[in-house]
């Protein structure tokens, strides 16, 4: 699986997923709120915990998409 064009540093378009991930977690206004709660947990907490899983999934996707 090597459909994406490569640049010099071994980067591919798939790595943009990492940028999305950084942009989301580095922007506290996005998640600094109580509602909506999940199982009684304020949004601030469950949203960031959710992104732990999203980021792991992104990494796995990039791993398979760019495996060399």
């Amino acid at each position: 699986m090597n459909g994406a064009p490569r640049t010099q540093g071994g980067l591919s378009w798939w790595h943009l997923l990492f940028l999305i991930e950084f942009a989301v977690v580095l922007w506290p206004p996005l998640y600094n709120k109580v509602e909506p709660t999940l199982l009684g947990i304020p949004f601030f907490y469950w949203f960031q915990l959710l992104w732990v899983f999203v980021s792991a999934a992104f990494t796995a996707i990039i791993y398979f998409a760019t495996s060399d």
């Binding site: 540093g9 071994g10 980067l11 790595h15 990492f18 991930e21 950084f22 977690v25 580095l26 922007w27 506290p28 206004p29 600094n32 709120k33 109580v34 709660t37 199982l39 009684g40 947990i41 304020p42 601030f44 907490y45 960031q48 915990l49 992104w51 732990v52 899983f53 980021s55 792991a56 990494t59 796995a60 990039i62 791993y63 060399d68």
Partner: protein
């Protein structure tokens, strides 16, 4: 102080005995010639995906983390959750930059960041700067691990006066020093497996049982004062707690794998694939750390800090006593023993790796570079073993005779110092563009400015940067890293113009950085 908890203490001692045996037995695991530094200090670079997961997980999610992050949530609230975005951002860096570094180090037999910088830039003074920064930043970190052990020993009800009070810590330390000396990195790698299993069992049990005891998450969060529940919304003319939170997470993420102990864990992996796979697997620890941060809120909701039986512990250890008190309050003694053993052993694993990493640095980049240029393999590994002992004695003396607060403050400074090695190490994995003397001056300016800014803010993490009428509070490490990079970038063309015309020495080739 409460009575000695004999059941918990027995289980704690039994588990400690088991891992001590394991630490010594580890010398024979994936047997190698321990008279060679890469065998003693990197486990022969033989660890596959799973062992690397345990080792790096055991290495960077330390006992101190498990005590201090919930303590921060208990004391300061939402800001403690910066640990979550922090550990989210760490793994893309591992996946991209440190995998490249692994390839180059594997190809050239580099054991430390100093080795890499020496080979890449051909400048022993820049390598020395990276080395000294690594050792200095690691020392208080080891000391804080011993604080983790101290807190759980105190929580088991063991107290005394004078030297008797420190005896259990002293014993734990002697055991740690002995198995590190004899088995090298294989010891913490094997113990990390036990430690991580215990930590996961403790965390998962607690995150299910305690909310049930307290009547659910909704009730727990309802008990949290509003000012602790969320970040304070910034007023006009400032980015307030938002920029503080984001830069703290970013700076911590950028710094983490520059620490010698993290890099030692990475370099001991057997392949670049093992590192990339771990970048996807290690977030399971981040999730657990996020859950553990919530323990600080459980403490508030359960009102543990108000109970008279724990008043002594809080008085002695401050907020660091929050998690031990919560565990004592919520669980039967036998489980408390398991949980405390998890924290105690969780301190030994990183402490062992840190002392090995510091020893590798000294041996390779100070002793071999400046004192004895041609040691035999046996001499080299003997020096490293001895230095690992010296480093641990230093940490122990520090913890026994200097107030804990100093170790915390030094560790905070350590984060600001270690991030200054990012340009030669992490960017060095991508480019040889920078002039090595420009990097050295950038490092010096960043280190000096970071220290001065930290002192001016009375050793807190965030510095209020004033630009016109605006204030941008941010993690000092991030601001000074930017300064460091600007200096290195501006000076590079200048130095190249006036410097000698010969091509810079670079041992590595572009092809060395990937599979």
């Amino acid at each position: 102080m409460q009575q000695v908890n004999w059941v918990a203490l027995s289980i704690f001692v039994a588990l400690f005995g088991f891992i001590s045996w394991l630490g010594f037995a580890a010398a024979r695991w994936r047997k190698g010639d321990l008279d060679q530094l890469h065998e003693w200090g990197l486990g022969g670079r033989r660890f596959g995906t799973l062992i690397t997961w345990f080792l790096v997980g055991g290495d960077i999610y330390t006992a101190y983390t498990f005590i201090a992050i919930p303590a921060l949530a208990f004391g300061a609230g939402a800001v403690a959750f910066f640990a979550v975005p922090y550990t989210i951002m760490v793994y893309p860096l591992l996946f991209l930059a440190f995998r490249r570094l692994w390839h180059a180090c594997h190809k050239h037999g580099y054991i430390t960041a100093g080795d890499f910088v020496r080979g890449r830039f051909g400048n022993r003074w820049l390598a020395l700067a990276v080395t000294v920064t690594g050792i200095v930043a690691t020392m208080p970190y080891i000391a804080l691990q011993l604080v983790g052990i101290q807190v759980v020993i105190g929580a088991l009800g063991i107290s005394g006066t004078g030297l008797a009070a420190d005896l259990p810590l002293f014993i734990a330390f002697v055991v740690l020093a002995a198995f590190t000396y004899s088995s090298g990195l294989r010891a913490p790698a094997s113990i990390a497996i036990v430690k991580d299993i215990l930590i996961y069992v403790t965390a998962i049990t607690a995150i299910i049982v305690i909310p049930l005891q307290l009547g659910g998450f909704a009730k727990i969060f309802a008990a949290i004062p509003p000012q602790k529940l969320l970040l304070a919304v910034p007023g006009s003319n400032t980015t307030g707690s938002y920029s503080g939170y984001a830069t703290l997470a970013l700076g911590s993420a950028l710094a983490l794998f520059l620490y010698p102990h993290s890099l030692t864990g990475v370099l001991s992996a057997s392949s670049g694939h093992a590192i990339r796979r771990n970048a996807a697997m290690l977030p399971s620890y981040s999730f657990m750390l996020g859950l553990l941060a919530l323990f600080g809120f459980f403490v508030i909701a359960a009102g543990v800090d108000k109970l008279p039986e724990y008043a002594g512990g809080f008085k002695q250890f401050g907020n660091n006593f929050a998690v031990p008190a919560l565990l004592l309050h919520s669980f039967p003694s036998w489980f408390v023993g398991v949980a405390f053993a998890a924290i105690g052993i969780g301190a030994l694993v990183p402490a062992a790796i840190m002392s090995i990493a510091a020893a590798n640095l000294y041996t390779r980049n100070i002793h071999r570079e400046f004192i004895n240029k041609n040691p035999t393999d046996k001499q080299e590994s003997q020096i490293a073993k001895t230095v690992s002992l010296v480093v641990k004695v230093g940490a122990l003396v520090f913890i026994l005779f200097v107030p804990t607060q100093y170790a915390v403050q030094l560790q905070l400074l350590g984060g600001i110092w270690i991030i200054q090695t990012l340009p030669p190490v992490m960017l060095g994995a991508y480019t040889r563009w920078f002039n090595s003397w420009a990097l050295l001056i950038g490092w010096a300016v960043g280190t000096y400015a970071g220290t001065a800014m930290a002192v001016s803010t009375k050793l807190t993490t965030t510095f209020p940067l004033h630009v016109g009428a605006y204030t941008f509070p941010g993690y000092t490490a991030v601001y000074t890293l930017i300064l460091n990079l600007v200096v290195a970038t501006v000076l590079t063309p200048l130095f190249n113009a006036v410097g000698p015309r010969r091509a810079p020495i670079d041992e590595t080739a572009a092809a060395d950085y990937h599979a």
